[in-house]
């Protein structure tokens, strides 16, 4: 069976070897086998697992929680319910993240427009409402 070195995997996943070893130290890669001398041998399935880890990271899941998931995977079928719930929770989180980004996008686009207008006018004053504020009599 074809295996890959840590350097090859790092290149493939756009990570550094430092990062991969850090993940291993944090318990995210208990499945990776070693040569008798200690060198890690990554299988295709290990790379797939790392892709899932990267996916969970993209949902802003902390590494400690990802570790729980990895531990559950090692536990086998008894943790199926937990793993299912975890992914459902992740789904809700990503939905919320997308929604927040869409709201952010609206503000950003408004600002793009605001500055386009100001730039064309040469001054931001173009946006200053001259709403004739009542000046206090004095």
């Amino acid at each position: 069976m074809k295996t890959y070195s840590i350097g090859e995997v790092a290149k493939e996943l756009n990570l550094t070897v430092y990062t991969l070893r850090y993940y291993d130290k944090e318990g995210l890669m208990p499945f990776v086998e070693r040569t008798p001398s200690g060198t890690r041998l990554f299988k295709e399935s290990d790379i797939s697992a790392l892709r899932i880890i990267e996916c969970l990271k993209a949902t802003a899941m902390p590494i400690k929680e990802i570790k729980s998931f990895i531990d559950w995977c090692s536990d086998g079928d008894s943790s199926l319910q937990q793993r299912y719930e975890m992914f459902m929770e992740r789904k809700a989180i990503v939905e919320a993240q997308i929604e927040e980004l869409q709201k952010t996008m609206e503000v950003i686009e408004h600002k793009c427009f605001y500055y386009k207008v100001a730039l064309d006018a040469g001054t931001e004053d173009i946006h200053k409402k001259d709403k004739n504020e009542i000046s206090l009599p004095n």
Copy 2:
């Protein structure tokens, strides 16, 4: 003109007073005025500015870059081009973030389905392909 204390602003924006003072220390709030004794007095316009800062933070913009924007604002019309370009860049970044989250969502949804099926079957083995791998003759 109505003003607000740091505590009121913190509550309004769902931040802590520590965070607001930290932002001030980092130069994000040069516009906030003080009483003679040093207490910060936030105006409505200051709160609006903080909402923009929160919006930029939501695009994963580092505080140092947000500071540059605040500095440009103080510079007036001469920085209009830079501010316009900054928001256009932010727009591109948010688009990319949304796209990445949508790809992430596809994977997560697939996993939700995967675990739903496994849970119904009572075992993850339901997904194991029995693709008759050619066993080596020995």
